[in-house]
Amino acid sequence: MMNDKNSQKIVDIIQNWARKHSIWVLAYGTGCGAIEIPPTMTSRYDAERLGVRGAATPRQADVLLITGYLTVKTMKRVIRVYEQMQDPKYVIGFGSCTINGGMYYDSYNTIKVLDKYLPVDVYINGCMPRPEAVLSGFAQLQKRIAEGRANGAQQYKDNLEWYRANQKKIIPNWIMPEYNW
């Protein structure tokens, strides 16, 4: 049955519908943007009504939020975390620092373009993005999941060498495991 194209389509639709209503966000903040997560999650904006909740460990999480500037030192941990996450997994670039460097455009220690290193599904701009913007970003992610377009993880698997080369360019002393899925 799974080989049948049309039934696979139906399975995908149901799967995506279920996935979009159950988004578990890894409780991991990289920069100053993490301060916008508590108001988003608590009673004022209440992201849980959209199915967005916090998860404690990478293996239980679906979404990795890169909240703000990402230093080279944190980059190692983020890659490690991202590669531990299980499918389905999505990345949200949060704040202008992940888009073009923001106010750290000439910093010696922060990356400027996140999507060279990790596959980003949704960008939220702003410095800082308010909780409304964060919720709008999650709504956008849900829309993309429902349409089956949030396939950053697949992109990462397919172009692993390219991503790895970019990551190794800024992390010369690579001590992390090499995965080969």
């Binding site: 030192k73 888009i99 460097g101 455009y105 000439d106 910093s107 010696y108 800024i170 002393n173």
Partner: protein, 189 residues
């Protein structure tokens, strides 16, 4: 307060011949420049004999034009409510000075940071090599001759579109038929 300050200046000058006092207009602040060999003994004296038991900060200043690095120790006396600045100048090409973390243990952290960010070497400092930077291969980044923009340009990708640093206010105003007020025009590039 004035008498206490005078008393501190007198005592330090009597004990340390090379201590040059910089006149400070503030009543609760005393400023001294010493040779780098004197630093451990003057800090020991301030802590043990004069009650400056609290190390507030150690910082480093890069005097690029004079070819020197200045290390500043700030100590605070809770009894007299006075802080003492102890400054010393190091050669910029070979900045070596004595480690002082046997006086205050927390000095170890400041020294690690200075070693990494300014390249100041502390003889006898026992600490892991890396502190804030990992895998750093360039020159010490807090020195003034380190060009962060050029380094970032070389190391990282930049998203195209912001290299001209164009002011978009004018474009938006033209598009929407708005008028930029006069006071805002002088900030436009």
């Amino acid at each position: 307060m004035k008498e206490i300050k005078e008393n501190i200046i007198q005592r330090i000058k009597a004990n340390f011949a090379d201590a040059a006092e910089k006149n400070d207009f503030k009543d609760n602040r005393v400023d001294f420049s010493v040779k780098k060999e004197t630093i451990p003994s003057i800090l020991f004296y301030l802590k043990d004999e004069m009650g400056f038991i609290h190390l507030s900060h150690i910082s480093c200043v890069d005097w690029l034009e004079e070819g020197e690095l200045e290390v500043v120790f700030i100590v605070w006396s809770p009894k007299d409510k006075i802080k003492v600045f102890v400054r010393t100048r190091l050669d910029r090409d070979n900045p070596v000075m004595d480690n002082v973390d046997m006086i205050w243990r927390q000095a170890n952290t400041y020294e690690r940071e200075m070693r990494e960010m300014f390249g100041v070497q502390f003889t006898g400092l026992v600490a892991p090599e890396e502190f804030l930077l990992e895998d750093w291969q360039g020159p010490p980044p807090f020195r003034r001759d380190f060009d962060t923009a050029a380094y970032a340009e070389k190391t990282f990708w930049h998203r195209p579109g912001r290299e001209d640093a164009q002011d978009v206010r004018e474009t938006i105003a033209n598009r929407d038929g708005e008028e930029i007020p006069d006071f805002a025009k002088k900030y436009s590039r």
